[in-house]
Symmetry: C2
Subunit: 198 residues, 2 copies
């Protein structure tokens, strides 16, 4: 409606998650009217990130180095290995700031119906790590979905056979959550996983 270039920019902005037509329009106007320098900087960062960012050789998270910041940090505890589904999960756990071990990123979960088997999510690479590194505990932090649970179960079987302790992060009512607003599935899980107070 405006001009082909602006229409194209608005369409391109919609590749961003949760950006619909109205947001794309507002973004395009804001950039062209008030922040052309920011728009050019963003374009430059996008190109450099797409060209530079690959997978960490060891844990498969996103990084532009051969080894990511966590894997190359010698002060991290390399007897602990936390297994997650995505790089965003690593970021969330790092931001929580309490975990000091290392990671392995599956980049997905087992899903036979979509033809995603153990090799597709790097379980062979994970088992190799268990051989090569002094890992004593695997902490499974896959999502509490059917596929995430199946993936956790599959890995725990393999790791236990290798004599490694396997744990699963706790699921239940979030801290600060009010029981009234928690979904039924979570609440049922919180009851069935109740712990004795000692």
């Amino acid at each position: 409606m405006f001009s082909p270039l602006i229409d194209e920019l608005m369409a391109a902005l919609r590749c961003l998650p949760s950006v619909g037509p109205k947001s794309a329009q507002r973004m395009a106007m804001q950039l062209l009217e008030h922040d052309r320098a920011g728009a050019l900087k963003l374009a430059d960062c996008l190109v450099r990130a797409v060209e530079g960012v690959e997978r960490c050789q060891r844990c498969r998270t996103l990084t532009e180095q051969e080894l990511c910041g966590v894997c190359s940090n010698t002060r991290r505890d390399n007897t602990l290995l936390c297994v997650v589904e995505t790089p965003a999960d690593v970021l969330a756990i790092e931001q929580a700031g309490s975990y000091q071990g290392k990671y392995f990123v599956l980049l997905g979960h087992l899903s036979p119906i979509d033809g995603i088997g153990p090799e597709d999510i790097g379980i062979d690479q994970l088992l190799m790590l268990l051989d090569q590194e002094p890992i004593t505990e695997i902490i499974l932090a896959t999502n509490p979905t059917m596929e995430g649970e199946a993936t956790a179960y599959y890995i725990s079987e393999k790791a236990q056979r290798a004599g490694i302790t396997v744990t699963r992060i706790a699921h239940g009512v979030p801290l600060g959550g009010e029981l009234e607003y928690i979904d039924g599935g979570t609440l049922a899980h919180a009851f069935s996983s109740r712990r004795a107070i000692t």
Copy 2:
């Protein structure tokens, strides 16, 4: 935390309106994990739009041509001129689809406190248009804020002196709006601007 390139990309994404740290993180992850082609396309559109898009010579909206689509459209009614504050306002009115006249974009509003006078918002150029074109009615669609009202008042004075009919778009309760949820200022205006039913 992840890698300098990804951190830089997340920072650059925050030039977009209403994108905070969490959204920027989700956008960066989504692009790098699932839509690298979209990211490159977006970068390309940003650069081309920033380099190509300028102001329409006549109405001052954003366009990459000398005259925008509305100004160069000979089927539009050139006796009507709608005055708005921003190119986004033009887009909103065009999307409503009922207005068939032309536009003039002020790119702001009068604001003596910020040193913004008539020349800064192109009122001289607007007055020239009134001389050159067969305009019979100016429709003032500046925002119903103090500055927008002052700007509308200033333009109406000038235009009436040139013998042109000046109108202001109606303000009041939006269609589909429920009185219960309308702010007091709007409601008071709706009462003071009530119309006789004939």
